[in-house]
Amino acid sequence: MSTATTTAVDPHAETLKTLSSVFGDGVFSLSNFRDNLRLFVPSSRLIEVLTALKTRCGFNLLAELGGADYLGYPGRTRGRFEVHYVLRNLETAEMIVVKAEVDDPDPTLPSAVPLWPGADWMEREVFDMFGVRFEGHPDLRRILMPEEFVAFPLRKDYPLRGRGERHNFPRLTRGES
Protein backbone atom coordinates (compact mmCIF):
# COMPACT_ATOMS: atom_id res chain seq x y z
CA MET A 1 0.00 0.00 0.00
CA SER A 2 2.63 2.53 1.00
CA THR A 3 5.58 1.32 -1.00
CA ALA A 4 6.15 4.73 -2.54
CA THR A 5 6.56 6.41 0.82
CA THR A 6 8.69 3.83 2.58
CA THR A 7 10.96 2.02 0.16
CA ALA A 8 11.68 4.43 -2.71
CA VAL A 9 14.21 7.17 -2.10
CA ASP A 10 12.22 9.77 -4.02
CA PRO A 11 8.49 9.03 -3.79
CA HIS A 12 7.79 11.40 -6.66
CA ALA A 13 10.29 9.98 -9.15
CA GLU A 14 7.72 8.02 -11.15
CA THR A 15 5.30 10.94 -11.31
CA LEU A 16 7.96 13.40 -12.44
CA LYS A 17 9.13 10.99 -15.11
CA THR A 18 5.61 10.64 -16.47
CA LEU A 19 5.02 14.37 -16.35
CA SER A 20 8.21 15.27 -18.16
CA SER A 21 7.49 12.65 -20.82
CA VAL A 22 4.11 14.28 -21.44
CA PHE A 23 5.01 17.93 -21.18
CA GLY A 24 8.75 18.11 -21.71
CA ASP A 25 10.56 21.06 -20.20
CA GLY A 26 9.34 24.56 -19.63
CA VAL A 27 5.68 23.96 -18.78
CA PHE A 28 6.01 23.70 -15.03
CA SER A 29 8.65 24.43 -12.43
CA LEU A 30 9.23 22.46 -9.27
CA SER A 31 10.07 23.24 -5.70
CA ASN A 32 10.41 21.12 -2.62
CA PHE A 33 9.79 22.06 0.99
CA ARG A 34 9.58 19.52 3.82
CA ASP A 35 7.50 16.69 2.36
CA ASN A 36 5.62 18.92 -0.09
CA LEU A 37 6.48 18.71 -3.76
CA ARG A 38 5.10 21.77 -5.52
CA LEU A 39 4.40 22.17 -9.19
CA PHE A 40 4.05 25.73 -10.45
CA VAL A 41 1.89 25.74 -13.54
CA PRO A 42 0.82 28.66 -15.78
CA SER A 43 -2.94 29.05 -15.78
CA SER A 44 -3.15 28.33 -19.52
CA ARG A 45 -1.78 24.80 -19.02
CA LEU A 46 -3.38 24.15 -15.63
CA ILE A 47 -6.18 21.84 -16.76
CA GLU A 48 -3.82 19.86 -18.99
CA VAL A 49 -1.46 19.25 -16.09
CA LEU A 50 -4.26 18.36 -13.68
CA THR A 51 -5.78 15.99 -16.23
CA ALA A 52 -2.42 14.30 -16.79
CA LEU A 53 -1.90 13.96 -13.05
CA LYS A 54 -5.34 12.45 -12.63
CA THR A 55 -5.42 10.07 -15.58
CA ARG A 56 -1.77 9.13 -16.08
CA CYS A 57 -0.29 9.38 -12.61
CA GLY A 58 -3.24 8.12 -10.57
CA PHE A 59 -3.86 11.22 -8.47
CA ASN A 60 -7.54 10.47 -8.08
CA LEU A 61 -8.35 12.50 -4.97
CA LEU A 62 -8.46 16.28 -4.93
CA ALA A 63 -7.76 16.59 -1.25
CA GLU A 64 -7.75 20.33 -1.01
CA LEU A 65 -8.20 23.46 -3.09
CA GLY A 66 -7.63 26.91 -1.73
CA GLY A 67 -6.25 30.31 -2.49
CA ALA A 68 -3.86 32.83 -1.03
CA ASP A 69 -3.20 36.51 -1.57
CA TYR A 70 0.50 37.42 -1.67
CA LEU A 71 0.12 41.20 -1.83
CA GLY A 72 3.19 42.50 0.01
CA TYR A 73 4.61 39.04 0.75
CA PRO A 74 8.37 39.28 1.40
CA GLY A 75 10.43 38.54 -1.71
CA ARG A 76 7.41 37.98 -3.91
CA THR A 77 8.14 37.89 -7.65
CA ARG A 78 5.15 36.02 -9.04
CA GLY A 79 1.54 37.18 -9.44
CA ARG A 80 -0.67 38.39 -6.64
CA PHE A 81 -2.90 35.37 -6.08
CA GLU A 82 -2.14 31.71 -6.07
CA VAL A 83 -4.55 28.81 -6.03
CA HIS A 84 -3.26 25.49 -4.75
CA TYR A 85 -4.56 22.02 -5.58
CA VAL A 86 -3.46 19.25 -3.23
CA LEU A 87 -3.76 15.92 -4.99
CA ARG A 88 -3.44 12.49 -3.46
CA ASN A 89 -2.85 9.15 -5.06
CA LEU A 90 -4.92 6.79 -2.92
CA GLU A 91 -2.94 3.74 -4.06
CA THR A 92 0.56 4.94 -3.26
CA ALA A 93 -0.37 7.68 -0.73
CA GLU A 94 1.73 10.10 -2.75
CA MET A 95 0.83 13.76 -2.37
CA ILE A 96 1.56 16.60 -4.74
CA VAL A 97 0.70 20.30 -4.62
CA VAL A 98 -0.10 22.07 -7.86
CA LYS A 99 0.05 25.85 -7.72
CA ALA A 100 -1.37 28.23 -10.29
CA GLU A 101 -0.66 31.94 -10.08
CA VAL A 102 -3.15 34.52 -11.20
CA ASP A 103 -2.85 38.28 -11.16
CA ASP A 104 -4.90 41.45 -10.94
CA PRO A 105 -7.00 42.73 -12.60
CA ASP A 106 -9.68 40.16 -13.25
CA PRO A 107 -8.00 37.04 -11.84
CA THR A 108 -9.41 34.08 -13.73
CA LEU A 109 -8.55 30.38 -13.77
CA PRO A 110 -10.12 27.42 -15.53
CA SER A 111 -12.40 25.39 -13.29
CA ALA A 112 -11.45 21.93 -12.05
CA VAL A 113 -15.07 20.86 -11.52
CA PRO A 114 -15.18 18.80 -14.75
CA LEU A 115 -12.26 16.78 -13.37
CA TRP A 116 -13.35 16.57 -9.74
CA PRO A 117 -16.93 17.46 -8.77
CA GLY A 118 -15.56 17.97 -5.26
CA ALA A 119 -13.91 21.18 -6.45
CA ASP A 120 -17.32 22.83 -6.68
CA TRP A 121 -17.66 24.33 -3.22
CA MET A 122 -13.94 24.86 -2.73
CA GLU A 123 -13.76 26.98 -5.88
CA ARG A 124 -16.81 28.89 -4.77
CA GLU A 125 -15.04 29.62 -1.51
CA VAL A 126 -11.92 30.87 -3.29
CA PHE A 127 -14.14 33.11 -5.42
CA ASP A 128 -16.00 34.31 -2.34
CA MET A 129 -12.86 35.13 -0.37
CA PHE A 130 -10.43 36.31 -3.07
CA GLY A 131 -12.52 37.14 -6.11
CA VAL A 132 -10.70 34.64 -8.31
CA ARG A 133 -13.14 33.60 -11.02
CA PHE A 134 -13.24 30.02 -12.27
CA GLU A 135 -14.25 29.72 -15.91
CA GLY A 136 -16.50 26.79 -16.58
CA HIS A 137 -17.73 26.50 -13.00
CA PRO A 138 -21.40 25.49 -13.07
CA ASP A 139 -22.59 27.71 -10.23
CA LEU A 140 -20.06 30.35 -9.22
CA ARG A 141 -21.84 32.22 -6.42
CA ARG A 142 -20.71 33.41 -3.02
CA ILE A 143 -20.87 30.62 -0.50
CA LEU A 144 -20.01 31.88 2.97
CA MET A 145 -20.55 35.64 2.70
CA PRO A 146 -24.01 37.07 2.01
CA GLU A 147 -24.86 37.51 -1.67
CA GLU A 148 -25.03 41.30 -1.49
CA PHE A 149 -21.51 41.53 -0.09
CA VAL A 150 -19.19 43.32 -2.49
CA ALA A 151 -15.65 42.95 -1.11
CA PHE A 152 -13.41 39.89 -0.95
CA PRO A 153 -12.59 39.53 2.74
CA LEU A 154 -9.46 37.37 2.67
CA ARG A 155 -7.60 39.74 0.36
CA LYS A 156 -4.71 41.42 2.10
CA ASP A 157 -6.06 44.92 1.43
CA TYR A 158 -9.29 44.12 3.25
CA PRO A 159 -9.05 45.16 6.91
CA LEU A 160 -9.57 42.66 9.72
CA ARG A 161 -12.50 44.57 11.15
CA GLY A 162 -14.21 45.05 7.81
CA ARG A 163 -15.29 48.23 6.11
CA GLY A 164 -18.35 48.87 8.21
CA GLU A 165 -20.63 46.46 6.36
CA ARG A 166 -22.15 45.24 9.58
CA HIS A 167 -23.11 48.75 10.61
CA ASN A 168 -24.63 49.63 7.27
CA PHE A 169 -27.02 46.75 6.81
CA PRO A 170 -30.39 48.03 5.61
CA ARG A 171 -32.64 48.19 8.62
CA LEU A 172 -36.14 46.82 8.30
CA THR A 173 -38.85 47.85 10.70
CA ARG A 174 -41.67 45.55 11.63
CA GLY A 175 -44.08 47.43 9.41
CA GLU A 176 -41.88 47.08 6.33
CA SER A 177 -41.10 43.40 6.70
Binding site: F33, R34, A68, V86, E125, L144
Partner: protein, 406 residues
Amino acid sequence: MTASAVDEPELETEAKQAAWTLNFGPQHPATHTTLRLILDLDGERIVKATPDIGYLHSGFEKLGEHLNYNQYVTVADRKNYISPPMNEVAWHHAVEKVLGVELTPRCQYIRVIIGELARISDHLLCTGAMALDLGAFTAFLYAFNLREQVYDVYEEMSGYRFHPGYTRVGGVLYDFNDRVLGRIKTFLGNFEAVYADMSKLLFRNRIFLDRLRGVGVLSKADAIAHSCTGPVARASGVTFDLRKDAPYLAYPELDFEVPYSSEGDCWARFMVRMEEMRQSHRILEQAVAKLPSGPVNLPIADKLSLPDKLTTYNSMEGLIQHFELVMPNRGFETPVNEVYAAIESPNGELGYYLVADGTEFGWRVRTRPPSFIHFSVFPHLIKNYMLADVVAILGSLNIIAAELDR
Protein backbone atom coordinates in the same frame (compact mmCIF):
# COMPACT_ATOMS: atom_id res chain seq x y z
CA MET B 1 -38.12 3.28 2.82
CA THR B 2 -35.82 1.26 0.62
CA ALA B 3 -33.89 2.66 -2.29
CA SER B 4 -35.62 0.53 -4.89
CA ALA B 5 -39.06 2.00 -4.29
CA VAL B 6 -37.95 5.50 -5.23
CA ASP B 7 -35.76 4.53 -8.15
CA GLU B 8 -38.55 4.72 -10.68
CA PRO B 9 -37.75 6.37 -14.00
CA GLU B 10 -38.26 10.13 -13.99
CA LEU B 11 -39.86 11.66 -17.04
CA GLU B 12 -40.58 15.23 -16.02
CA THR B 13 -38.10 17.97 -15.34
CA GLU B 14 -37.07 18.83 -11.81
CA ALA B 15 -38.96 22.10 -11.81
CA LYS B 16 -42.21 20.45 -12.82
CA GLN B 17 -41.90 17.70 -10.25
CA ALA B 18 -41.34 19.92 -7.29
CA ALA B 19 -44.71 20.76 -5.90
CA TRP B 20 -43.60 22.70 -2.86
CA THR B 21 -40.54 24.10 -1.12
CA LEU B 22 -39.52 23.59 2.45
CA ASN B 23 -36.98 25.52 4.45
CA PHE B 24 -35.07 23.22 6.75
CA GLY B 25 -33.19 25.28 9.29
CA PRO B 26 -31.25 27.46 9.99
CA GLN B 27 -32.78 26.77 13.38
CA HIS B 28 -33.85 23.17 13.57
CA PRO B 29 -33.10 20.63 16.28
CA ALA B 30 -31.87 18.03 13.79
CA THR B 31 -29.32 20.32 12.16
CA HIS B 32 -27.68 20.56 15.61
CA THR B 33 -25.97 23.71 14.46
CA THR B 34 -26.81 26.54 12.14
CA LEU B 35 -27.23 25.46 8.56
CA ARG B 36 -30.07 25.83 6.13
CA LEU B 37 -31.42 23.57 3.42
CA ILE B 38 -33.92 24.62 0.80
CA LEU B 39 -35.75 21.44 -0.13
CA ASP B 40 -37.83 21.17 -3.28
CA LEU B 41 -40.32 18.43 -2.61
CA ASP B 42 -42.76 16.31 -4.48
CA GLY B 43 -44.96 15.08 -1.71
CA GLU B 44 -42.35 13.83 0.73
CA ARG B 45 -39.83 12.92 -1.93
CA ILE B 46 -36.90 15.30 -2.30
CA VAL B 47 -36.41 16.51 -5.85
CA LYS B 48 -33.64 18.93 -5.10
CA ALA B 49 -31.79 20.14 -2.03
CA THR B 50 -29.94 23.43 -2.02
CA PRO B 51 -27.72 24.04 0.98
CA ASP B 52 -27.35 27.62 2.13
CA ILE B 53 -24.42 28.02 4.47
CA GLY B 54 -22.45 30.82 6.01
CA TYR B 55 -24.61 31.56 9.04
CA LEU B 56 -21.72 30.82 11.35
CA HIS B 57 -18.97 32.38 9.26
CA SER B 58 -16.70 34.16 11.71
CA GLY B 59 -13.58 34.86 9.68
CA PHE B 60 -11.44 32.25 11.41
CA GLU B 61 -8.99 32.19 8.51
CA LYS B 62 -8.61 35.96 8.55
CA LEU B 63 -8.04 35.82 12.30
CA GLY B 64 -5.22 33.35 11.69
CA GLU B 65 -3.32 36.15 9.99
CA HIS B 66 -3.57 38.34 13.08
CA LEU B 67 -2.94 35.86 15.89
CA ASN B 68 0.38 34.21 16.45
CA TYR B 69 0.93 30.49 16.16
CA ASN B 70 0.31 29.87 19.83
CA GLN B 71 -2.66 32.20 20.15
CA TYR B 72 -4.43 30.71 17.16
CA VAL B 73 -4.84 27.38 18.93
CA THR B 74 -7.86 28.83 20.75
CA VAL B 75 -9.50 29.58 17.40
CA ALA B 76 -8.55 26.19 15.98
CA ASP B 77 -10.34 24.68 18.98
CA ARG B 78 -13.57 26.33 18.00
CA LYS B 79 -13.73 24.90 14.52
CA ASN B 80 -14.82 21.37 15.22
CA TYR B 81 -15.88 21.97 18.81
CA ILE B 82 -16.96 18.34 19.20
CA SER B 83 -13.32 17.25 19.12
CA PRO B 84 -11.22 20.33 19.96
CA PRO B 85 -7.87 18.61 20.72
CA MET B 86 -7.80 17.08 17.26
CA ASN B 87 -7.97 20.58 15.77
CA GLU B 88 -5.13 21.70 17.98
CA VAL B 89 -3.02 18.74 16.96
CA ALA B 90 -3.76 19.47 13.29
CA TRP B 91 -2.91 23.13 13.64
CA HIS B 92 0.38 22.65 15.40
CA HIS B 93 1.21 19.75 13.12
CA ALA B 94 1.20 22.25 10.26
CA VAL B 95 3.13 24.88 12.22
CA GLU B 96 5.78 22.38 13.24
CA LYS B 97 6.08 21.18 9.69
CA VAL B 98 6.77 24.72 8.50
CA LEU B 99 9.31 25.15 11.27
CA GLY B 100 10.78 21.73 10.57
CA VAL B 101 10.97 20.55 14.16
CA GLU B 102 10.63 17.03 15.50
CA LEU B 103 8.64 16.65 18.71
CA THR B 104 9.91 14.78 21.74
CA PRO B 105 8.66 11.17 21.98
CA ARG B 106 6.58 11.94 25.05
CA CYS B 107 4.88 14.85 23.32
CA GLN B 108 4.11 12.70 20.29
CA TYR B 109 2.39 10.15 22.49
CA ILE B 110 0.51 12.81 24.42
CA ARG B 111 -0.79 14.25 21.17
CA VAL B 112 -1.86 10.81 20.00
CA ILE B 113 -3.70 10.32 23.29
CA ILE B 114 -5.58 13.61 23.23
CA GLY B 115 -6.33 13.14 19.55
CA GLU B 116 -7.77 9.68 20.01
CA LEU B 117 -9.77 10.80 23.04
CA ALA B 118 -11.20 13.51 20.82
CA ARG B 119 -11.98 10.95 18.13
CA ILE B 120 -13.92 8.79 20.55
CA SER B 121 -15.78 11.77 21.93
CA ASP B 122 -16.62 12.97 18.40
CA HIS B 123 -17.86 9.57 17.29
CA LEU B 124 -19.84 9.13 20.51
CA LEU B 125 -21.67 12.35 19.82
CA CYS B 126 -22.12 11.60 16.14
CA THR B 127 -23.49 8.09 16.61
CA GLY B 128 -25.46 9.08 19.70
CA ALA B 129 -27.02 12.14 18.10
CA MET B 130 -27.78 10.17 14.96
CA ALA B 131 -29.73 7.73 17.10
CA LEU B 132 -31.40 10.62 18.91
CA ASP B 133 -32.54 12.20 15.65
CA LEU B 134 -34.06 8.92 14.57
CA GLY B 135 -35.91 8.47 17.81
CA ALA B 136 -33.56 6.22 19.80
CA PHE B 137 -33.13 8.49 22.77
CA THR B 138 -31.62 6.05 25.24
CA ALA B 139 -28.43 5.31 23.32
CA PHE B 140 -27.73 9.01 23.10
CA LEU B 141 -27.82 9.35 26.88
CA TYR B 142 -25.29 6.56 27.36
CA ALA B 143 -23.02 8.11 24.77
CA PHE B 144 -23.29 11.58 26.20
CA ASN B 145 -22.65 10.37 29.70
CA LEU B 146 -19.38 8.80 28.61
CA ARG B 147 -18.34 11.98 26.81
CA GLU B 148 -18.41 13.76 30.16
CA GLN B 149 -15.49 11.61 31.23
CA VAL B 150 -13.51 12.79 28.22
CA TYR B 151 -14.21 16.34 29.36
CA ASP B 152 -12.93 15.34 32.80
CA VAL B 153 -9.65 14.39 31.16
CA TYR B 154 -9.48 17.73 29.33
CA GLU B 155 -10.18 19.56 32.56
CA GLU B 156 -7.50 17.71 34.44
CA MET B 157 -4.85 18.15 31.77
CA SER B 158 -5.41 21.79 30.86
CA GLY B 159 -7.88 23.39 33.27
CA TYR B 160 -10.54 23.84 30.62
CA ARG B 161 -13.39 21.47 30.00
CA PHE B 162 -14.65 22.35 26.57
CA HIS B 163 -11.90 24.09 24.62
CA PRO B 164 -8.65 22.97 26.21
CA GLY B 165 -6.23 25.02 24.07
CA TYR B 166 -3.67 22.48 25.16
CA THR B 167 -1.01 22.20 22.47
CA ARG B 168 1.78 24.69 21.97
CA VAL B 169 4.40 25.08 19.25
CA GLY B 170 6.89 22.34 20.04
CA GLY B 171 5.01 20.92 22.98
CA VAL B 172 1.98 21.15 25.18
CA LEU B 173 0.74 23.48 27.89
CA TYR B 174 1.35 21.20 30.88
CA ASP B 175 2.82 17.74 31.03
CA PHE B 176 0.53 14.82 31.86
CA ASN B 177 0.56 13.96 35.54
CA ASP B 178 -0.73 10.89 37.35
CA ARG B 179 -4.18 12.35 37.87
CA VAL B 180 -4.62 12.88 34.13
CA LEU B 181 -3.53 9.35 33.43
CA GLY B 182 -5.87 8.15 36.17
CA ARG B 183 -8.81 9.88 34.51
CA ILE B 184 -7.87 8.45 31.14
CA LYS B 185 -7.74 4.97 32.64
CA THR B 186 -11.14 5.51 34.28
CA PHE B 187 -12.53 6.50 30.90
CA LEU B 188 -10.94 3.54 29.15
CA GLY B 189 -12.30 1.20 31.79
CA ASN B 190 -15.84 2.48 31.34
CA PHE B 191 -15.73 2.52 27.56
CA GLU B 192 -16.39 -1.16 26.90
CA ALA B 193 -19.59 -1.23 28.94
CA VAL B 194 -21.00 1.82 27.19
CA TYR B 195 -20.04 0.45 23.81
CA ALA B 196 -21.79 -2.80 24.67
CA ASP B 197 -24.88 -0.88 25.80
CA MET B 198 -24.97 1.15 22.61
CA SER B 199 -24.46 -1.87 20.42
CA LYS B 200 -27.22 -3.77 22.18
CA LEU B 201 -29.58 -0.84 21.84
CA LEU B 202 -28.83 -0.05 18.21
CA PHE B 203 -27.20 -2.82 16.22
CA ARG B 204 -30.32 -4.98 15.97
CA ASN B 205 -32.88 -2.23 16.49
CA ARG B 206 -35.36 -2.81 13.68
CA ILE B 207 -36.53 0.81 13.40
CA PHE B 208 -33.00 2.17 13.48
CA LEU B 209 -31.84 -0.31 10.85
CA ASP B 210 -34.75 0.45 8.55
CA ARG B 211 -34.08 4.14 8.76
CA LEU B 212 -30.41 3.75 7.84
CA ARG B 213 -29.99 0.78 5.53
CA GLY B 214 -29.91 1.65 1.85
CA VAL B 215 -30.37 5.37 2.61
CA GLY B 216 -27.99 7.97 1.18
CA VAL B 217 -25.85 5.55 -0.78
CA LEU B 218 -22.49 6.95 -1.85
CA SER B 219 -20.50 4.84 -4.28
CA LYS B 220 -16.74 4.51 -4.02
CA ALA B 221 -16.16 6.39 -7.26
CA ASP B 222 -18.41 9.24 -6.13
CA ALA B 223 -16.75 9.39 -2.74
CA ILE B 224 -13.35 9.89 -4.37
CA ALA B 225 -14.65 12.29 -7.02
CA HIS B 226 -16.28 14.46 -4.37
CA SER B 227 -13.10 14.58 -2.26
CA CYS B 228 -14.63 12.64 0.65
CA THR B 229 -12.23 11.41 3.31
CA GLY B 230 -12.43 9.83 6.72
CA PRO B 231 -15.35 7.66 7.85
CA VAL B 232 -17.56 8.91 5.01
CA ALA B 233 -15.11 7.67 2.38
CA ARG B 234 -14.23 4.53 4.31
CA ALA B 235 -17.90 3.57 4.53
CA SER B 236 -17.89 3.63 0.73
CA GLY B 237 -14.92 1.33 0.37
CA VAL B 238 -11.97 3.75 0.32
CA THR B 239 -9.40 2.30 2.68
CA PHE B 240 -7.26 5.42 2.90
CA ASP B 241 -6.36 6.61 6.38
CA LEU B 242 -3.65 9.20 6.93
CA ARG B 243 -2.62 7.53 10.17
CA LYS B 244 -1.62 4.46 8.18
CA ASP B 245 -0.80 5.82 4.74
CA ALA B 246 1.02 9.02 5.61
CA PRO B 247 1.95 8.34 9.23
CA TYR B 248 2.61 11.18 11.64
CA LEU B 249 3.29 11.46 15.39
CA ALA B 250 3.64 8.08 17.08
CA TYR B 251 1.10 6.20 14.95
CA PRO B 252 3.65 3.92 13.23
CA GLU B 253 4.49 2.44 16.64
CA LEU B 254 0.89 1.64 17.50
CA ASP B 255 -1.10 -1.34 16.39
CA PHE B 256 -4.58 -0.67 15.05
CA GLU B 257 -6.79 -1.42 12.09
CA VAL B 258 -8.68 0.80 9.70
CA PRO B 259 -12.32 -0.29 9.50
CA TYR B 260 -14.14 0.16 6.23
CA SER B 261 -17.28 -0.98 4.52
CA SER B 262 -18.34 -1.25 0.91
CA GLU B 263 -22.02 -0.45 1.37
CA GLY B 264 -21.77 3.34 1.36
CA ASP B 265 -25.12 3.94 3.06
CA CYS B 266 -25.91 5.63 6.37
CA TRP B 267 -25.70 2.34 8.19
CA ALA B 268 -22.17 1.75 6.87
CA ARG B 269 -21.09 5.20 8.01
CA PHE B 270 -22.59 4.54 11.42
CA MET B 271 -20.88 1.18 11.75
CA VAL B 272 -17.51 2.50 10.57
CA ARG B 273 -17.68 5.15 13.26
CA MET B 274 -18.62 2.60 15.91
CA GLU B 275 -15.72 0.37 14.93
CA GLU B 276 -13.31 3.31 14.80
CA MET B 277 -14.13 4.00 18.42
CA ARG B 278 -12.99 0.50 19.33
CA GLN B 279 -9.79 0.95 17.38
CA SER B 280 -9.19 4.30 19.08
CA HIS B 281 -9.72 2.58 22.39
CA ARG B 282 -7.05 0.06 21.36
CA ILE B 283 -4.67 2.86 20.40
CA LEU B 284 -5.30 4.64 23.68
CA GLU B 285 -4.58 1.58 25.77
CA GLN B 286 -1.28 1.02 23.97
CA ALA B 287 -0.32 4.69 24.05
CA VAL B 288 -1.00 5.04 27.76
CA ALA B 289 0.99 1.88 28.47
CA LYS B 290 3.89 2.94 26.25
CA LEU B 291 3.91 6.64 27.19
CA PRO B 292 7.64 7.48 27.27
CA SER B 293 9.15 9.47 30.09
CA GLY B 294 11.42 12.42 29.53
CA PRO B 295 10.83 16.03 28.57
CA VAL B 296 7.59 16.93 26.88
CA ASN B 297 8.54 20.28 25.35
CA LEU B 298 11.41 20.96 23.02
CA PRO B 299 14.61 22.14 24.71
CA ILE B 300 15.22 25.85 25.24
CA ALA B 301 17.91 25.82 22.56
CA ASP B 302 15.21 25.38 19.90
CA LYS B 303 13.76 28.76 20.86
CA LEU B 304 10.17 27.66 20.38
CA SER B 305 8.54 26.63 23.61
CA LEU B 306 8.08 28.75 26.68
CA PRO B 307 10.33 27.50 29.50
CA ASP B 308 8.62 26.56 32.75
CA LYS B 309 8.65 28.90 35.72
CA LEU B 310 11.47 27.12 37.53
CA THR B 311 13.80 27.46 34.55
CA THR B 312 12.70 31.04 33.88
CA TYR B 313 13.47 32.26 37.39
CA ASN B 314 16.59 30.19 38.03
CA SER B 315 18.60 30.30 34.83
CA MET B 316 19.75 33.08 32.59
CA GLU B 317 19.02 31.07 29.45
CA GLY B 318 15.49 30.40 30.61
CA LEU B 319 14.90 34.05 31.42
CA ILE B 320 16.17 35.22 28.04
CA GLN B 321 14.08 32.66 26.22
CA HIS B 322 10.98 33.60 28.17
CA PHE B 323 11.55 37.27 27.37
CA GLU B 324 12.14 36.54 23.68
CA LEU B 325 8.90 34.64 23.33
CA VAL B 326 6.68 36.86 25.42
CA MET B 327 7.69 40.30 24.12
CA PRO B 328 5.38 41.35 21.29
CA ASN B 329 8.13 42.61 19.00
CA ARG B 330 10.13 39.36 19.16
CA GLY B 331 8.75 35.84 19.12
CA PHE B 332 10.16 33.02 17.05
CA GLU B 333 11.34 33.10 13.49
CA THR B 334 9.83 31.05 10.72
CA PRO B 335 11.00 30.31 7.18
CA VAL B 336 9.46 32.34 4.37
CA ASN B 337 7.78 29.33 2.86
CA GLU B 338 4.57 27.38 2.85
CA VAL B 339 3.40 23.89 3.57
CA TYR B 340 0.32 21.70 3.46
CA ALA B 341 0.01 19.34 6.39
CA ALA B 342 -2.96 17.17 7.22
CA ILE B 343 -3.98 14.69 9.88
CA GLU B 344 -6.80 12.19 10.15
CA SER B 345 -9.47 13.91 12.20
CA PRO B 346 -12.67 12.14 13.32
CA ASN B 347 -14.45 13.57 10.28
CA GLY B 348 -11.72 12.99 7.74
CA GLU B 349 -8.68 14.79 6.47
CA LEU B 350 -8.18 17.97 8.48
CA GLY B 351 -5.39 19.94 6.89
CA TYR B 352 -3.85 23.36 7.04
CA TYR B 353 -2.28 25.16 4.15
CA LEU B 354 0.01 27.46 6.05
CA VAL B 355 1.95 30.25 4.38
CA ALA B 356 4.62 31.60 6.73
CA ASP B 357 6.25 34.97 6.14
CA GLY B 358 9.13 34.85 8.60
CA THR B 359 7.23 36.25 11.56
CA GLU B 360 5.26 34.39 14.20
CA PHE B 361 2.00 35.24 12.45
CA GLY B 362 0.73 33.16 9.58
CA TRP B 363 0.45 34.90 6.22
CA ARG B 364 -2.36 32.65 5.14
CA VAL B 365 -4.04 30.05 7.31
CA ARG B 366 -6.20 27.93 5.08
CA THR B 367 -8.15 25.14 6.77
CA ARG B 368 -9.18 22.10 4.82
CA PRO B 369 -12.43 21.42 6.66
CA PRO B 370 -13.89 17.93 6.24
CA SER B 371 -17.42 19.09 7.15
CA PHE B 372 -17.42 21.62 4.32
CA ILE B 373 -16.52 19.01 1.76
CA HIS B 374 -18.90 16.39 3.11
CA PHE B 375 -21.77 18.82 3.17
CA SER B 376 -21.24 19.58 -0.51
CA VAL B 377 -22.05 15.91 -1.18
CA PHE B 378 -25.32 16.14 0.72
CA PRO B 379 -27.50 17.36 -2.20
CA HIS B 380 -26.39 14.33 -4.23
CA LEU B 381 -27.01 11.93 -1.36
CA ILE B 382 -30.49 13.13 -0.46
CA LYS B 383 -31.85 13.27 -3.98
CA ASN B 384 -34.93 11.07 -4.43
CA TYR B 385 -35.03 10.02 -0.81
CA MET B 386 -37.72 11.07 1.63
CA LEU B 387 -37.93 14.11 3.85
CA ALA B 388 -37.40 11.96 6.94
CA ASP B 389 -34.09 10.74 5.51
CA VAL B 390 -32.64 14.26 5.73
CA VAL B 391 -31.87 13.83 9.40
CA ALA B 392 -30.46 10.34 8.88
CA ILE B 393 -28.06 11.51 6.18
CA LEU B 394 -27.13 14.73 7.97
CA GLY B 395 -26.42 12.73 11.09
CA SER B 396 -24.30 10.20 9.25
CA LEU B 397 -22.16 12.94 7.65
CA ASN B 398 -21.58 14.60 11.03
CA ILE B 399 -21.74 18.20 9.81
CA ILE B 400 -20.29 20.64 12.33
CA ALA B 401 -21.36 24.11 11.27
CA ALA B 402 -18.54 25.92 13.06
CA GLU B 403 -16.08 23.99 10.92
CA LEU B 404 -18.33 24.22 7.86
CA ASP B 405 -18.45 28.02 7.91
CA ARG B 406 -15.35 28.90 9.90
